[in-house]
Symmetry: C5
Subunit: 94 residues, 5 copies
């Protein structure tokens, strides 16, 4: 799982029926220092995350479709938590 | 899931029987700024996507074969939505 | 799924019993322009592909072991089709 | 599976219900020479690993959610062992 | 699946119960020319591979835990064959 930030929303009217009613977020994975970790990906929203929030991102299908209670559906990426803070070993916060 | 563009079609006459009747698309994953994200991949078409359309691409087997209703078949990549537009946090459109 | 070329064969006499009778191919994933895409991988042959043929390669376990009808076996990569040709958007052939 | 070091903890109060009671660790994958292998990831703790410990990290959903006995939940990464030492072929220790 | 070499062993006394009795190998994935392909990974031994042997490595959970007959356990990487030799298209051996 990765730390990421919600940076947008993806609108798709023609889509697989299993996606009906789900919100597609555009999320940017982050490195620990807050810089971008690769490019943004599209993820299903499982925790009603808001734009700009720092979130926990899962990148695997089983994890992702189970997070929205839809088994065996074409969902491979999901936002599954809102991160309050990260405590580092050295006692600092990221 | 990634944003991608349909750039071609792959024709394979000798293939695994579970692929009969499925259309194989050549899709180019895209970065947010529209540039290429790595090289193109081959994906099954689950939403009758047209050449040149901007689509939602899943890259995991479970997601992919469930999208065409064929469980436990050798399908790992699929086009599962047509993207209308992407709304970014800053209020711009990608 | 990726486009690849069969470039060799891997011989392993001591192997997991579920692999008995299966042929292991050495396949080189290709970019659209025909250049190498990373290094070669080892894949199970599900369509009796010949040396030098351009093939469709799946890189995920579920897809791979289902292609040879052996569920829950240690097979994660398989050749599942022989590619006739690729039709690109611009009307050219790759 | 990779060798990694626990470098922090991630606190998320709003999260998917299947994550209740689980501790989220921040872990840094390591190369053999002890240098960082990419950036840190977030993992569920299955063995009560302590901060600073060298651990065995699994990066796949099936492996990860089974390690904490919660099937089909959005968990894709987990700490599943504490590493005592690594014996290299040359007789040295890493 | 990849070609790799066994370069060491990982000892972990505190570990997930499903790992009891399994040997953890340190394996270095190889390119065709014998050079290192990324850094070493930790894999379960399913074929009693010896130190220094050239082996067949699977990197996916389903493949890996089925190779040691333990379903739904936190095992994602396994050594599943000993490679005798690799026959390349050009008639050379790697």
């Amino acid at each position: 799982m990765l730390i990421a930030r919600v940076i947008g929303e993806v609108v798709a009217t023609r889509k697989h029926s299993s996606h009906e009613g789900l919100k597609l977020l555009l999320v940017q994975p982050l490195n620990l220092d807050g810089t971008d970790r690769g490019d943004a990906v599209v993820a299903v929203d499982a925790v009603q995350a808001g734009l700009g929030e720092k979130v926990l991102l899962t990148l695997e299908g089983f994890s992702a479709f189970s997070s929205v209670g839809r088994l065996m559906t074409p969902i491979e990426t999901a936002v599954i938590g809102i991160i309050d803070h990260v405590e580092l070993l050295e006692g600092t916060e990221a």
